[in-house]
């Protein structure tokens, strides 16, 4: 009987092709990653020690450690997220939830964002230098670096959050409206938690981008490899350190690889933390 109706050959072949392509992709990407990571580990692992993590650099970074860079990096990231998260979340909410009424503004902002995402980081750097460092008078400082980075990661954060928000089933909004819940409650207690997957994706991408950024920071947070005393001090980010060691300091390769390894570990930890925090928020609210 209907056994003869087995799905046509083409369909199963496509299915198999799909499975094969998926496996091949995963293997290829995995291998590519391992290749890069392997190169970093092979060069850098030998350099890593507690002293490397805790000492200040000397001899242009060929000796000593990366402690000031770690501190500066975290401070810059902190400033960046402190600005970009509220700004990003707010704009995403505006775009996803209020576009009917603010249609013009919404479209304008959305276009602006996609545009912002394509601005080269070096232009961000020059802009940050001109605007934050000079016009606003922040000089070379962690603050102006963080602000510049915030502008850079904003589009990632906003667009992902927005997609997350759009995908929340309309029945939640209906339910909330029928209970006379205010928009604020609806958004923060129901819609945003449901949009957490998108938010995390944006956060993870944004943090990765922020930690990896060099060009925008050279002109803003600067090159000084001391411990910063305040947010108004200049501080060298790890990525700049890596850049300097590998491109500017003869014999800095191994140290650069070691720093990259530390950077990746840091990112891994931050990602895990972000995921856990977001999950807790989604569950608890």
């Amino acid at each position: 009987m209907s056994i003869s109706q087995r799905p046509g050959l083409t369909v199963t072949a496509l299915d198999r092709l799909l499975g094969f392509a998926m496996a091949a992709t995963v293997i290829a990407v995995g291998l590519g990653f391992c290749w890069i990571l392997g190169a970093i580990v092979a060069q850098g692992l030998g350099q890593i020690s507690l002293a490397f993590l805790l000492a200040e650099p000397s001899n242009a970074g060929r000796e000593g450690g990366i402690a000031p860079m770690l501190v500066s990096t975290l401070l810059i990231l902190g400033v960046c997220l402190a600005i970009a998260l509220p700004l990003g979340l707010g704009t995403a909410l505006l775009l996803a939830e209020f576009t009917i009424t603010d249609q013009r503004l919404g479209r304008l902002v959305r276009r602006s964002l996609d545009f912002l995402a394509g601005v080269p980081s070096i232009v961000f750097g020059l802009f940050g230098n001109a605007f934050f460092s000079q016009v606003l008078g922040l000089g070379f400082s962690i603050l102006s670096g963080g602000l510049t980075l915030a502008c850079m990661v904003l589009p990632l954060l906003i667009r992902t959050t927005e997609e997350g928000l759009r995908a929340v089933p309309p029945s939640y909004r209906q339910g909330a409206a029928a209970l006379g819940l205010s928009q604020t409650t609806t958004l923060f207690k129901i819609i945003l938690p449901a949009a957490v997957p998108g938010l995390i994706a944006g956060l993870v991408l944004g943090m990765g981008r922020a930690l990896a950024e060099t060009a925008a920071l050279i002109f803003t947070s600067g090159y000084v490899d001391r411990f910063p005393r305040s947010l108004m001090d200049s501080g060298r980010a790890l990525s700049i350190h890596i850049f300097d060691l590998s491109m500017n300091i003869p014999g800095g390769d191994a140290r650069a690889a070691a720093s990259a390894l530390v950077l990746l570990t840091l990112l891994l930890l931050l990602n895990l933390l972000a995921g856990a925090l977001a999950q807790r928020w989604a569950n608890s609210s």
Binding site: S58, F219, M247, G251
Partner: protein, 270 residues
């Protein structure tokens, strides 16, 4: 040998911030100088920023930096600024160490860079493979020096690869046995010292090294300068003197550059 604390003992307590911006070639050296200067004057902070020679010039002019770092000599139109030479840097032509070519005449170099010689086999002792010409990007001072020495125009050069920093040039050549390029001698020496497959070609019969550079026999060189505009503050003034003093010679050598005063080394004790 570390210079003792009292090297700068005019009795005035120096204090304040000095900001240096400019050439990324000079920056690592300036940082090390700054650290030593801070050791001697605990009230002083030396902030070194990079961004390129042009940034150094611009920032010095508009006052956002006290001192600019420039990896070349000042041009005539930059006469409003004062240059303070702190070190010299040589430029050597480099090949992959597997490349059997041992010497190139200036004419050959010119022909190669102009694209008239495209095969290594056209050069005595060369292998049968095409030449990969590595050139520096427009505006870089190494390029200026190179062009001036060989009396070339950048638009005549037929390059296959255009690079920015020295290390990019070294990695390009170590990764490509048929490449020819030119980089800072210090960087090349350092890489050769670490066993990378690289060699420097002699120029006009003089083999490039920090020694020949120091004694003035090697022709292809540039000066690393700190620049200021007008009269600088006492602290900046002190730093400029410090940077030109023998107290930082070991730092200059550590960064593979050549101290300016090739003449008798001043004793490092007061």
């Amino acid at each position: 040998a570390k210079p003792p604390q009292a090297a700068n003992s005019e009795g005035i307590k120096l204090q304040g911030n000095i900001v240096l911006t400019g050439s990324s070639t000079v920056a690592p050296l300036a940082i090390e100088m700054g650290k030593r200067f801070e050791e001697q004057h605990p009230q002083v902070r030396v902030d070194v920023q990079t961004g390129g020679s042009s940034r150094g010039l611009a920032d010095t002019r508009n006052g956002s930096a006290d001192i600019g770092m420039v990896s070349r000599s000042l041009k005539p139109e930059e006469g409003d600024l004062t240059a303070h030479a702190i070190a010299r840097d040589g430029i050597a032509i480099i090949l992959h160490s597997e490349n059997p070519v041992a010497e190139l005449s200036p004419e050959q170099v010119v022909d190669i860079y102009q694209g008239q010689l495209t095969q290594w086999s056209d050069v005595a002792g060369g292998p049968t493979s095409p030449i990969t010409v590595v050139n520096k990007a427009e505006g870089r001072s190494t390029l200026d020096v190179f062009l001036k020495h060989f009396d070339l125009k950048n638009s005549e050069i037929q390059a296959q690869v255009i690079i920015g920093d020295n290390e990019q040039g070294i990695k390009t050549v170590t990764g490509n046995p048929n490449a020819i390029g030119y980089v800072s001698i210090g960087a090349a020496e350092h890489s050769i010292g670490r066993g990378e497959p690289l060699k420097m070609l002699p120029l006009d019969g003089v083999s490039p090294s920090t020694t020949t550079l120091q004694d003035g026999t090697f022709p292809l060189a540039r000066t690393l300068n700190l620049v200021t505009q007008g009269a600088s503050e006492p602290t900046a003034q002190a730093f400029l003197q410090f940077a030109q003093s023998p107290q930082v010679q070991d730092l200059i050598e550590q960064q593979n550059f050549v101290p300016i005063e090739s003449a008798p080394l001043a004793p490092s004790t007061p």
